[in-house]
Amino acid sequence: MTPMTRDRRARGHWRRQLGILALLVVLVAVPWVITDPYKISICTMILINVILACTLFPLLHAGMFTIAHAAFMAIGAYSSALLTLKAGLSFWLAFPIAGMVTAVVAALIGIPTLRTKGVFFLLITFGLNEVGRLVISSLNITGGAEGLGGIRRIDAIPVPGIGVIEFTSRAANYYFVLALAVLTIVVLVRLWRTAFGRAWQAIGQSEELAVSLGIPLARYKLSLFCLSCFFAGLTGSFFAHYYRFLSPADFTVWNSIYPLVYLQVGGLGSMLGPILGATILTGALEIFRAIEEYKPMTFGVLLVVVMLLAPDGLIGFPSRARVLWKGRRGMR
């Protein structure tokens, strides 16, 4: 990080570092503190959503508003499941392959579609997600609409020094997805602050100006799209071996929209946004599972309220609140 950008971050820079460290400690401690398996698996679910929301963060900033993320997650999930089921591969081999398969498919789809912009890209991806779901449910190898069962859990792996790690316990799966989340976020945040990240942001803010400065749009958009989908694919692979049953119903347009909701509710201001949004909303959904019939409504109300009070998301709220306090109607 160069001084020029650091100046702005200098305020509370160390505080931030400490905060991140503390957060990590807490996250690692979770399985010891929370013994209730249900709560652990909620945390697992939260982390899955955090990853998905975070992979959307750079995409939205670069002006790619996609509603096909669930479809790409599905590609990762099914390819990993089938590789282990049909080809008998070890999970540890299938996992990265699943990610790459997803990235490749993303490239093949991205090359024609990324030429479109804004609402058209949104609609195309929307359609792609529908097509993907319908294809999965009409193929035989994917088990069609009935779904694909009998998927192995993550294979045990010997780790020098620690010994063999079994993935029978929830804690183990939790740690796995936690590691994946950390990896994803670190990679994305790091890249975001490099010249590449700057180029992506530039494209998001003005393609015209970006290209005039010699930034090749197509290549940069495609690479980011593939990267994002790569992580979505990895997440999908974990999803498959965690739930051990896949059905098209898990990858509807809604499953693509929810991560966007987390991201938007959390806020696009920084990577903290998607993390916050996914945590709060997934948590909320679980809490409100108690009043089953009202769950979607509750979610909807949360969403609308946040959007009305803080259109820029929760992390943008404090500054916005100040604006409102001053009496200036930011909403208008």
């Binding site: 359609g127 529908e130 929209i257 909807g300 109300v301 949360l302 969403l303 959007m307 009305l308 208008r332």
Partner: protein
């Protein structure tokens, strides 16, 4: 397949087309003026269906009266949505999208709580069916869908082209900024658009629901189809909605007849390809 079956196929393609046109026209109208994808449009349609059920099934109001009342009631709902939820976030595109999603969730769930999960049937005033050929027949209620679609669409055409409000609406749709410069209150026209669009949703429900049924879950499928139609025809274009509606009617109808259910993919595939080669759709204009 025999001639009579060809005829049969064509007939329900027409019915399907009219149905799609009815549900899509309101959706596209709203988008044309306000640039908002009102994902709650399908839910408005659903509410329209339930209103009709209570008006006719419970209080046995005359069908045609009920039809108008449905339109008005749903129209008012639309205005409320615009005023209370969409307007405050107008300047934030993403937030608008999210609000639309939220409203969709709230309304469908609300319907489930209010009306219960079971399907409700609205008796159609048009009983019996006409013989088109010795072997082919078409029920009057389906005829009503085709005719109803024709009437509603021509009425809409008159409104857009031959009333002051309508012409103004179109002006705003084409260029909100200039319209604003010319001292038109864009806000007022957005409200008007939401009213008109939602009114159409209510009327569509009143015409279509008697053929099928209404339950709290009909909104979703309606929405999906409407989106395909609107993209096919071009975002925000009313003639496009008609063209797209019937296009999809035939795509779905023929597809289902010949390939069975995977055919539901067909519409989307075509739409995606279309958007790649001609983003403005069949009859649409490029967005500003």
């Amino acid at each position: 397949m025999g001639l009579d079956q060809v005829l049969q196929t064509i007939l329900f393609c027409l019915v399907l087309g009219s149905y799609y046109t009815l549900i899509a026209s309101g959706f596209t109208l709203v988008f044309g003026i306000s640039r908002i994808f009102n994902f709650a449009h399908g839910e408005l349609y659903m509410f329209g269906g339930f209103f009709l059920y209570y008006l006719i099934g419970m209080w046995s109001v005359n069908y045609f009266v009920a039809l108008i009342v449905c339109g008005l009631a749903v129209g008012v709902m639309g205005v409320v949505l615009e005023r209370l939820f969409y307007r405050p976030v107008r300047t934030h595109i993403n937030a608008t999208f999210m609000v639309a999603v939220g409203l969709l969730l709230i309304m469908s769930n609300l319907a489930l709580v209010l009306f219960g999960p079971l399907i409700k049937k609205v008796p159609s005033p048009f009983a019996g069916s006409i013989r088109v050929s010795p072997t082919v027949s078409l029920s009057w209620e389906r005829v009503a869908v085709i005719v109803g679609c024709a009437i509603v669409m021509s009425a809409l055409h008159l409104f857009i082209n031959h009333t002051r409000q309508g012409v103004a609406l179109r002006a705003v749709a084409q260029d909100p900024d200039t319209a604003a410069l010319m001292g038109m209150s864009v806000d007022r026209f957005r409200a008007l658009a939401f009213f008109a669009g939602s009114f159409l949703a209510g009327v569509a429900a009143a015409i279509v629901i008697p053929v099928f049924y209404v339950d709290p879950f009909v909104g979703g499928n309606v929405m999906l189809r409407a989106m395909v139609v609107v993209i096919l025809g071009g975002l925000g274009s009313i003639p496009g909605a008609v063209a797209g509606g019937f296009a999809l009617g035939f795509i779905d109808g023929l597809g289902l007849t010949f390939f069975g259910y995977p055919a539901y993919t067909l519409g989307w595939v075509i739409v995606i390809v279309l958007m790649l080669i001609r983003p403005m759709g069949l009859m649409g204009k490029e967005l500003g």
